[in-house]
């Protein structure tokens, strides 16, 4: 792409693991609690250049993880953003040092409710403290610092990842050169909270949840977690996309005159639910949805969103939304952009036309790719890469 790129596509390297912070290094949480010991699971792609100016942090969504661009060992499937990260793609490991972490509270190696509570020697379960998006970001900042990186070329993420991006801009503007917020919102709406509450209630209504102590009992609240996933999954797709994909198509010829999955859409949702429980932890789902519900960037600033970005005037922002996203609709992204403008920040914003709904940022959207590619190319150039 750019002849000036320090690394060539040939020497890209995948790295990472689990960063174990010293026992004395506790993560202070918004709730007032402290989390120690702290472990952050992460993956890296590409190499950090000598001037340490090419590092990009990728933030994942609710059920994502650190395996952004490499095969996920749990599922054997490609990384969740392998359409964006890779040779020749907008985030090229031949050019950038890309870091993806698993959020705290998660279940893919970072400290979460399934980790061992040092006080009891048993998994935390519900004794795990409630966390926030800002807590997740604080842990990421600790990792970035531990990796010896002072300034990130970019922090980028979609959905909950986009909220982390906004939190980064609010809390660590001096550590950012640019910020890319995709399909996100500056706060969780009543509807967002409502859907999450359905999911949490489904999990907690499962007898196998056992008040969160299912591990000790050797069971898992699979049914509840599957229902939670099914409800949430509907919010990730647009009505048009669901209709186009399934319509009223039946699984078999004729109706069953019962409650089997007659319709293809039922079968699809059931599959989404059952495959999800194989890779995700029910308590993590409770904690991370709670963190999302608590997210309201303006609330800590007298309700003025622009106040969150007053120190971020040196950061180059890119905000992207999808026209058919009804989970975090374009209006939410516009609110972000208006706040950025009001704060005097340099911001770009585009609404990508698509009927694929919220999940469009995982999917083949040429306009989205072009926007990302253009923004990152210009950002790298501005950084002198």
């Amino acid at each position: 792409m750019d002849a000036k790129a320090k690394a060539s596509p040939g020497d890209e390297t995948d790295g990472g693991g689990v960063w174990r912070f010293p026992a004395a290094t506790a993560l202070r949480l918004d709730s007032g609690a402290k989390l120690a010991p702290l472990e952050v699971a992460y993956k890296t792609y590409g190499r950090l250049n000598e001037t340490k100016t090419n590092a990009i942090l990728v933030c994942h969504a609710l059920t994502g993880d650190q395996h952004a661009a490499s095969v996920n060992p749990m599922t054997g499937r490609p990384g969740w953003w392998d359409r964006v990260i890779g040779p020749g793609l907008p985030l090229d490991p031949g050019r950038y040092f890309i870091i993806a972490t698993n959020v705290i509270g998660g279940c893919m190696g970072s400290t979460g409710p399934a980790s061992i509570n040092p006080k009891t020697g048993a998994p935390y379960g519900l004794s795990f403290p409630v966390i926030t998006i800002a807590d997740m970001v604080r842990a990421q900042a600790m990792l970035v610092e531990a990796l010896g990186i002072e300034t990130l070329l970019a922090v980028v993420g979609g959905s909950m990842g986009g909220m982390q991006v906004l939190q980064w801009a609010a809390d660590y503007p001096e550590k950012l050169f640019s910020a890319v917020c995709v399909a996100a919102a500056p706060r969780h709406s009543a509807q967002n909270i409502a859907f999450h509450e359905v999911g949490r209630q489904a999990i907690m209504a499962d007898p196998d949840w056992r008040g969160g102590a299912y591990d000790a009992a050797g069971v898992r609240p699979e049914k509840g977690l599957a229902v939670a996933r099914m409800a949430a999954h509907i919010t990730y797709l647009s009505e048009t996309a669901l209709q186009r994909k399934f319509g009223r198509e039946l699984q078999r010829d004729g109706l069953s005159w019962g409650f089997d999955a007659d319709f293809q859409v039922e079968s699809y949702l059931r599959h989404q639910g059952t495959s999800f429980v194989d890779r995700f932890d029910a308590n993590s789902y409770l904690y991370i949805t709670r963190a999302l519900d608590y997210f309201d960037l303006a609330a800590q600033r007298d309700g003025v969103l622009a106040s969150a970005f007053l120190k971020a005037r040196g950061v180059r922002f890119c905000v992207l939304s999808f026209s058919s996203d009804w989970l975090y609709p374009t209006a939410e992204s516009r609110d972000i952009v208006r706040a950025l403008n009001a704060a005097g920040c340099r911001a770009s914003f585009a609404e990508i036309e698509t009927d694929k709904g919220h999940d469009a940022f995982f999917l083949d959207e040429p306009q989205f790719d072009r926007a990302l590619r253009g923004f990152f190319a210009a950002t790298a150039q501005a950084r002198g890469l």
Binding site: V337, R338, A347, S348, A350, E351
Partner: protein, 244 residues
């Protein structure tokens, strides 16, 4: 701000001449970002675009420009006061739903506005309407009435009236006519309302007192770079000095 309706880029050269190096510039209806890129390259401006079409926004992002997908009619309100040195509105004011509001917003968020408007008082318009009795279709305004994006056309005289009403000062004005060299004009001259096809204005708030203003220097930025430019006998336009 429909794309493709700006016929030609004849005003770009003039805008390029007016803009001070290193300035903060907002281009409202920036389309594919050509002007912003030109200004960035030639004048090292800190540019921001506002564009309604997805294709235009994509093109701007690909050029590495800061661009916000939005609507000049609605989205200017969200910019803070004096966020920019210049707000540019090239041949799109007549496409706005509320040109008066847009114009006053431009001069709230920027210290100066560069606005170009096609002159409906141009003789071609008048002759066309007089002889054919139909809405004129000319090289400056080529679309038929039922498909034109130009919903708020005005004459040069109308526009200067509006500037007066909004208490705006004309710091410079040039007439642009189909590729001919730009011609500095006195915008409220009777003859100019006949012979100017498009007029490009550099405007600022009249209530704004600027340190070091020299009231005799009528053509402001134009005079700085082109000492032999004819001066307007009427417009009292002090030269603008860089505040920063």
């Amino acid at each position: 701000m429909a794309t493709g309706s700006k016929n030609g880029r004849e005003d770009f050269a003039e805008i390029l001449r007016l803009v001070r190096p290193g300035a903060r510039v907002l281009d409202v209806g920036c389309e594919d970002g050509e002007l912003l890129e030109l200004l960035t390259r030639e004048k090292r401006i800190d540019g921001q675009g506002l564009e309604i079409s997805p294709a235009g926004v994509s093109a701007c992002l690909a050029r590495g420009l800061a661009v916000v997908q939005g609507d000049g009619d609605r989205d200017l309100d969200h910019f803070p006061a004096r966020a920019f040195d210049y707000a540019i509105l090239s041949k799109t004011l007549q496409q706005m739903r509320e040109p008066r509001h847009v114009l006053s917003e431009l001069l709230r968020i920027a210290d100066q506005a560069i606005v170009s408007v096609p002159n409906f008082g141009h003789w071609r318009m008048r002759v066309s309407l007089m002889t054919r009795g139909r809405m004129p279709e000319t090289r400056a305004l080529p679309d038929p009435w039922w498909s034109t994006p130009n919903i708020h056309l005005c004459t040069l005289a109308d526009f200067t009236d509006l500037c007066r009403e909004l208490d705006l000062r004309v710091d410079a004005c040039v007439a642009l006519s189909g590729g001919k060299p730009a011609r500095p004009i006195r915008p409220d001259g009777l003859l100019e309302n006949w012979r100017s096809e498009t007029a490009l204005f550099l405007l600022s708030r009249r209530d704004e007192q600027r340190p070091g203003a020299t009231p005799t220097d009528l053509f402001g930025a134009v005079a700085v770079e082109e000492p032999d430019a004819p001066t307007s006998p009427k417009a009292k336009a002090p030269r603008r000095r860089a505040r920063r």
